[in-house]
């Protein structure tokens, strides 16, 4: 015994900071409990109708989810992110939630809050998720909210759910999606978000929407693409507070480590992953290429993470266009190009996504990293430029 008194170490222990410095095989698992949703948002990359019988019949059973949660805990996961679709559409949500918490897992819940009942709010208050619930907000009033969700009564349901969370003091944060109907409400949204006790910063907003991850509808993809902000509009949104945006981005860009090279999964995909509603374990939430998913119904998280995904992470691009552009581009960290986005847009893992490329270039021009007409993959001194921007910001 040491005779010391600091027996208990309290803190925001998360997936990165075990005192030993060691990392478990799995630190966090995403689970998409259903693809069904009680909203019918045009911009959504995954939603299916709430009552979709085929989707419902294919979904993992309660017992199957429990097995996956149990294995995740055994492998060392601290957090399980429950998303969808709308995860609260599952009749067994409370059962699954309690099961995960009793395994000692923190639960990060993504929801539209409409199916938060008094009973569920009580449960979340009594057995806290230990992660702030994340509520997506589509508008500040009925007509703007329901122009997005296309479900009458959904705004009232969202307000009811949020009121219950506030009343029961269940910690939550909100995030938004910038769409034509609610663009004029951004300031109002941010002002309201600031009144929520657990909001520590302005809410994040999605605007560069992903196409359908199942590649299930050309028509839906056309409509999603039409809802995206233009790159210039996106930059204007980011730069509404120009000083803080420049400062934050200059620091971010200064950490650029150079072009990513030809390795396909240069991100964290495959170190963890996402289990879809039907038991396919994907290296991340977006990439649903059949060649990279692992069927958990006939296997284990351990095998996927220990044997299958590491091989996947060694894969290299062979697409000449990707190799000539993305692999050489110093804006890679600023750009959302990844195998998942490539899959949704083109059905491949390594085709440059023009829209994302234009967004990254627009940001880089605004920040002074690129001159008009320059192409980032042709720039040799990207790191030097990022260093110069940071020095300018720091000195001002």
């Amino acid at each position: 015994m040491t005779g010391g008194r600091d027996f208990v170490v309290r803190g925001k222990l998360d997936r990165w900071n075990l005192r030993s410095g060691r990392k478990p095989l799995l630190d966090r698992l995403d689970v998409e409990l259903t693809e069904r949703c009680d909203s019918d948002c045009i911009h959504c990359y995954i939603n299916l109708p709430a009552g979709d019988p085929r989707a419902r019949s294919r979904e993992l059973s309660t017992r199957e989810w429990m097995r996956i949660f149990r294995e995740a805990a055994e492998l060392g996961a601290l957090t399980i992110r429950m998303t969808g679709g709308e995860p609260l559409l599952r009749d067994d949500f409370a059962e699954l939630y309690l099961y995960a918490r009793r395994l000692g897992l923190k639960v990060l819940l993504f929801t539209n809050a409409r199916r938060i009942t008094p009973e569920l709010a009580d449960l979340l208050a009594r057995v806290p998720p230990l992660e702030r619930v994340e509520v997506t907000v589509y508008g500040m009033r009925e007509e703007t909210y329901e122009a997005v969700t296309r479900v009458p009564g959904s705004y009232a349901g969202f307000r009811r759910g949020v009121a219950l969370l506030l009343e029961r003091k269940v910690p939550f944060v909100v995030k938004g999606a910038i769409l034509p109907s609610n663009r004029g409400e951004l300031d109002e949204f941010e002002a309201w978000a600031a009144t929520i006790p657990w909001m520590e910063r302005s809410p994040s907003c999605s605007m560069f929407f992903d196409l359908r991850a199942r590649r299930d509808s050309e028509e839906k993809n056309r409509r999603i693409a039409a809802l995206r902000l233009s790159p210039e509009e996106g930059v204007a949104f980011f730069a509404r507070k120009p000083e803080s945006y420049r400062r934050e981005m200059a620091r971010f860009c200064a950490r650029f480590t150079g072009p990513p090279g030809d390795q396909l999964f240069a991100c964290g995909a495959g170190r963890s992953g996402c289990v879809d509603a039907y038991g396919a374990f994907q290296p991340c939430m977006l990439v649903r290429h059949p060649g990279v998913a692992y069927d958990l119904k006939g296997g284990s998280l351990r095998e996927a993470l220990g044997e299958v995904f590491p091989r996947l992470r060694e894969r290299h691009s062979v697409n000449p266009e990707y190799l000539a552009r993305c692999a050489r581009c110093f804006l890679k960290d600023l750009c959302e190009q990844c195998p998942g986005k490539s899959w949704a847009e083109h059905g491949t893992l390594d085709t440059p996504v023009e829209y994302l490329c234009r967004v990254a270039h627009a940001q880089a021009r605004y920040l002074g990293l690129l001159a008009e007409g320059e192409r980032a993959w042709e720039v040799e001194n990207g790191a030097e430029r990022a260093g110069r921007i940071l020095a300018e910001v720091e000195s001002s």
């Binding site: 005779g3 008194r5 925001k12 601290l78 000692g104 009594r126």
Partner: protein
């Protein structure tokens, strides 16, 4: 100050879940009100972990302290003080309860 009885046995509370990840003992609150913040977890240092493993609801703190003193070849009085201090802290944090009071 929480009163600790060395002649009593203690056991982990049902309000927490203890997990071992990569050799580290992590105590995850299950019920509300264990942590001061909503997303806090706790770990025990090596000393705490060693004691926690012996809190089976049957062995008294005196017995546990004797066992630890033998294992560590340390003065029993010093070990007893450590055990009392840690148990006091864990009981105060609702992570541990007296076995009979469970």
């Amino acid at each position: 100050m929480t009163e600790i009885r060395m002649e009593a046995a203690y056991i982990p509370s049902e309000d927490v879940v203890a997990r071992e990840i990569e050799g580290e003992l992590i105590i995850v609150p299950l019920a509300a009100g264990i942590g001061d913040l909503e997303d806090e977890l706790y770990t025990l240092n090596e000393t705490g972990k060693d004691l926690w493993a012996r809190l089976d609801g049957k062995s008294t703190l005196q017995e546990i302290a004797r066992g630890l003193a033998e294992e560590y070849e340390a003065p029993p009085g010093e070990i007893e003080e450590d055990v009392r201090g840690l148990v006091q802290e864990l009981v105060r944090r609702r992570m541990l309860v007296e076995a009979s009071g469970r």
